[in-house]
Symmetry: C2
Subunit: 395 residues, 2 copies
């Protein structure tokens, strides 16, 4: 196992995150902002737990106009939260379905905002408020006459600019996953079924230092994939099939998200179409990478990859509405590498370049790599796959 | 690897689920019901994907008053959805932030419900509607003057009564996880740090047939845990420490959720308090199990465990507001084993019995097993841990 980056972040980093958000809050006139999701709460406090998998209990963090975040959480989270970047912790005994923290949360928010004030919540595209709708309605009632404002853009924009400590974790998980992909022909030798192969892959990822594999998709067949978002199945690979594996592995809360395509067996002839398409997407990735730099717009990268694919005589696939996206505390984050997304890339933005095309068969091929925008250009976070599809030697 | 249960379900099972829900809908006067979460969509259609980890795209399934569910999904999900239990699939090209499926969804819902009709959504405790708040507001506007009704109780009640095919999957993942726990002293031999030990555990789980480990918590120390919901850390175990590992492993969409406590090293003397508490919770589990049968109320099981603990001179821990919960397509589901939850247990309900107590040290100990209510009584799904804490021999 390579040396892991340190877990967590220095206090100064959380303080900087709060202050940046508070600057946005002052500009927009929000007196307090509410966070409810695992990603946002981790970002502003460092509180990391799988417990968000349990839908019974909500978790709240309030960022006031000044000072540290305030946690409003179930009693059972108090000790753990006390070690994180919070100035105060308020608790209720949960579960308490008749008032699942709502009155305590409202009291907290009201304490930070005057009656004619405004409270920010994540209401926009790509976000949810992680609490029951009935409780959101109750909360809105208790906050009246305060305004509820949509702060999702500001939050997602803040998260989009990763610090060097964040990039270090993302580089680590991308390199770890690259190594697991590179080792797969050896690690999965003798396995024939999609699921058995991906199981070997998952084990190897854990061994190499990933905390978890939160996202896994796989597909196989001759000349392309029917779908690129489904879990592996029972299908046995045949000589000449291709196998796509897409992995969202996690280290200390941070994702990588990229895929690899393998060809089954060593018959070069049976995979001629797949190998050609793989080469075209290799070229598209190179073009996307070349277009990536601070100041470029998200759609510029899309255009570079799209024109590379059409220049080679292929059409973008159905999934090709977009050719990539941000990555970070979630598998997919803004921006979208697609027509119309004019987000200007800044140093610290991590992206999945994900060009795809429709093969002669009518099925899709997709390739994906992770990159980070730097002060002067761009860096590969994943080790780019070779131009030639790697072969999985079946038994 | 033991023989795995078959993946997915027969069409007849999905048809029965739809019909049962439609009976509830007729009773309540709902013309259509909307599902948005991974768990609900899998339950009613069999569509299973990790892609819900990506917050960019919503997925919708509408159950009309009669007939099969209708999917309203991003174009990229069409091929995969077509293999599932849906009568019709309507698609939009996503991402399309200006109208992320909302108008198509509204059109679909309106097609199934008259203007004076009602549409069911999951609004209540333990549920979310997985789409941005702004889109929910837009949807409500487009559905007007139709009523929006809370269908969460009906949905969660339906999911609470598992079929034998569902129980079979849950038994499989509980047995698989039991075996991984039993093998841990061997599998983790020589490892000293929490995270290295749980990494061995996760690898062993995958090897033994789990699809993933979606929930993992661990804690160690002398005489109890400070918190029982946090991820493993860098801490090195010392002779006499105890180590708690709580695992939510998944097979074909279904969770198990139970924990094990180990003592580090073979010093019986240093762990005397922990071993005593472990024995008390063993007794509490037995009492909870004895109280579990069709017709019993959820709170009866809580009471049986609570009185077992107090009879032995301990107090319930802070987490002891509840002593367990339902398990299924989510890590925690209704009912709650706590005072005031009068849910009557029926055959097919799967529960985590999870009694906890405060040790002399002021820290907590928790034990947990999974059980299923049967027609005539109750069945252990996990292999119950022995009364004596198992030792992890350190190097």
């Amino acid at each position: 196992m390579k040396t892991e980056p340190a877990r967590g972040f220095a206090s100064a980093e959380f303080s900087a995150r709060a202050k940046l958000m508070q600057k946005e809050m002052a500009r927009a006139g929000w007196d307090a902002v509410l966070f409810t999701t695992a990603a946002d709460i981790f970002y502003f406090t460092g509180f990391l737990t799988d417990f968000f998998a349990s839908p019974t209990r909500p978790w709240f963090v309030v960022l006031p106009a000044r000072g540290m975040p305030v946690a409003v959480v179930p009693e059972m989270g108090k000790t753990a939260m006390a070690k994180r970047y919070v100035g105060e912790i308020r608790c209720w005994n949960s579960p308490r379905p008749e008032d699942e923290g709502v009155s305590l949360l409202a009291e907290t928010l009201c304490g930070f905002s005057p009656q004619n004030g405004a409270v920010g919540m994540t209401l926009g595209a790509g976000t949810i408020v992680r609490m029951p709708q009935n409780d959101i309605a109750k909360l809105r009632g208790l906050l009246r006459p305060r305004t509820i404002a949509d702060c999702s853009d500001a939050v997602l924009r803040a998260r989009m600019r990763k610090s060097s400590a964040e990039i270090q974790k993302m580089r680590h998980i991308a390199k770890t996953t690259s190594a697991a992909f590179a080792g797969l022909p050896e690690d999965a030798r003798g396995e024939m079924r999609e699921r058995d192969i991906t199981r070997r892959f998952a084990r190897s990822l854990l061994l190499r230092g990933a905390d978890s594999l939160a996202y896994l998709a796989a597909a196989s067949g001759a000349d392309g994939c029917e779908s690129i978002i489904m879990p592996p199945g029972e299908k046995r690979l045949s000589e000449g099939d291709m196998l796509m594996i897409d992995a969202g592995a996690v280290f200390d809360g941070y994702y990588c998200d990229f895929c690899r395509n393998y060809r089954a067996g060593d018959s070069a002839k049976k995979t001629i179409n797949a190998r050609k398409a793989h080469g075209v997407l290799h070229y598209a990735l190179r073009e996307g990478f070349a277009a990536a730099r601070p100041g470029a717009a998200a759609e510029d990268l899309w255009r570079a990859m799209e024109s590379a694919i059409t220049r080679k005589g292929y059409g973008a696939s159905g999934a090709g509405v977009r050719f990539g996206h941000g990555v970070g505390l979630q598998l997919t984050e803004p921006p979208s590498l697609m027509r119309g997304d004019e987000t200007v890339l800044k140093p610290g933005t991590v992206l999945a370049l994900e060009p795809s095309l429709v093969m002669e068969s009518g099925r899709a091929m997709v390739r994906e790599e992770n990159i980070a925008i730097t002060k002067t250009g761009v860096e590969w976070l994943s080790d780019p796959a070779p131009e030639e599809m790697v072969s999985l030697f079946l038994r």
